[in-house]
Subunit: 338 residues, 2 copies
DNA sequence: GTGAAAGCGCTAACAT
DNA sequence: ATGTTAGCGCTTTCAC
């Protein structure tokens, strides 16, 4: 493996000159630069980023911290899309992406911030973490620049990107209201997700604005899981047959809800309308296809990367980025006929 | 950021002793070790892996080279599953994962092997590359240890993990044969995928063993894309209405095929049986759900990581790993009634 | 059992 | 425009 030392020797110059030539500094004679470049090509030189990072004290890498990279997380393409967006951005800017995951069967009691510091990542993107996760506080407390996906924390070195979940939820519920539904249930995620709180808030606001009293017994918890949602919805509809529409805080739960409704022998959308949230891949392939509130996860990943670099380079105007959601009407919602 | 030097000073020992103590060498007094550990905790020390890697000449990182991390690749959860498996393995063994993707809108004419050498990854996993991709040859030629997913190349430093695609294809076709189908069409991927060749081979073998002449005009090309498959199947069935079953080299194409069949006003499975390959997430959610040959991509990722480490540590018995496939019968295939 | 010193490959003052 | 030198934080002979 050739080093700049080898090149220096072969080109008859000092290592400094080689370094400067290769890094495009202006204070080097064009002739010598050409020669150095020629030699380095000939010797098939690749710079050692480890050495460079060591002395420069920055590694041009960003860490992606994901928690719970489980089978489950493959169902929504959420994490993957965020990764794709982030990857796209980092490729454009020359940053490399290193993946950190505590998804280990055994020990690895190393904390996220330790991981980040050891690997000397310049910054981190954090995704899929719960609000009560100890790692969250830890990372935020450390001085590692980072941006969070869907968790609103701001500081000198911390930013976040999310969508307006209250508004998104209102769009969903308003859609149902416009279709004439009045008895609208909600399947929420779990309390440790920031987005759940907001999506509930939007639900309540929308009902209130329509002068419909919200009934707490109609808001159930699906833990963001398909099976859990199916189970809960089944019970709910059995005891409350007057419900005509269900708003779910995630598409996966909406799919669970669809199963429950079918299991009860009811027809979607004629007897029960269902609307989801996320617009995951599955949604458009379901029968009936699922009406939902779309989020652009790819963009979230991309914007998260962008903000992180801005923070790193101290030119972030804002540490907060709100992306748009949009209503996608498909087959699972229809006018209320009751 | 504290270094071993700081610890040495604080503990009143030399850096050598600190290094040895922290790395668990035996030739260090237990008392001093305890003290050193205490001090390093107190100073919130994190080792600098960059420096360590530089001197040790190994980075404990493996690179994941993916090509075409597109919107499309989100449809099958294939890449994600491989990533998950690989991540699981590397987490268990303390290796970190860095993601390389040429998925860049602009320049980045840097080659994979350059990327690998610059970042000093110890080895690489290559996934989703076509057989005619110039990168492929390049990586194989370089001396970087690597393991390929679904491309059978072996050398001193190169291994691969795949499934028995001929056998898998035969399982699929035999299933249709057992259901009494005789007029079985095939939708293949593209010629630059090694697996396509094998899956075609299996198709032909199965037919031959059943004494059914294979008809080349019944083998069409779907380029592994849903829309392409839909289009091709639509044309095929129009001109060959005697076909009763279609075997597709991927689930995504099978889904395209399903759309085409429905568009022709035919019923699945009563008039046309369809079988796919892969068992992607969508398959079980389709209506009707899709019969398919399942591959375990998670396991492929895991095994690829495992083999890579074995190659790195010079204790690989074999540079080839064949995983099992299995037939999953769902609703899209049924006895032939014609 | 512990320390001094060299060196991994690179960049960056500071000369010249 | 180029070279000398120091040093990034760590591991590793080789002495003692």
């Amino acid at each position: 493996m050739t080093t700049i030392k080898d090149i220096a020797k072969a080109a008859g110059v000092s290592v400094t000159t080689v370094s400067r030539a290769l890094n495009g500094y202006s204070d080097v004679n064009e002739k010598t630069r050409e020669k150095i470049i020629a030699v380095s090509k000939q010797l098939n030189y690749s710079p050692n980023t480890l050495a460079r990072s060591l002395v420069m004290k920055k590694s041009k890498t960003i860490g992606l911290l994901v928690s719970g990279m489980t089978k489950q997380s493959g169902k929504d393409n959420l994490l993957f899309e965020v990764l794709r967006g982030l990857n796209q951005f980092s490729a454009e800017t020359g940053y490399d992406l290193v993946l950190f995951s505590t998804n280990s069967t055994k020990q690895r009691e190393k904390t996220y911030s330790q991981l980040c510091r050891e690997r000397r990542v310049d910054g981190a993107i954090i995704q899929g973490i719960k609000t009560d996760d100890p790692y969250l506080q830890e990372v935020v407390d450390s001085d590692i620049p980072c941006v969070l996906v869907d968790i609103p924390i701001e500081s000198e070195t911390v930013g976040y990107v999310t969508t307006d979940n209250v508004l998104g939820a209102k769009k969903a519920v308003n859609h149902l209201l416009e279709l004439g539904h009045r008895n609208i249930a909600m399947v929420n995620g779990h309390e440790f997700a920031f987005v759940s709180q907001k999506r509930l808030e939007g639900y309540e606001q929308a009902l209130q604005e329509a002068n419909i009293p919200s009934r707490t017994e109609w808001v159930i918890n699906g833990a963001f899981e398909e099976e859990q949602a199916e189970h809960q919805v089944y019970q709910l509809l059995k005891t409350h047959p007057d419900i005509t529409a269900i708003y779910c805080a995630s598409d996966l739960m909406a799919i669970g809800a669809m199963k429950a409704v079918k299991r009860l022998g009811l027809c979607i959308p004629n007897q029960i309308s269902i609307i989801g949230y996320d617009d995951i891949l599955l949604s458009s392939y379901m029968t009936p296809s699922l009406t939902t509130i779309a989020q652009n996860f790819y963009e979230m990943g991309f914007e998260a990367g962008k903000m992180l670099i801005e923070i790193l380079e101290d030119k972030a105007k804002s540490h907060r980025k709100l992306l748009e959601t949009r209503l996608i009407v498909r087959e699972s919602t229809i006018k209320n006929h009751t």
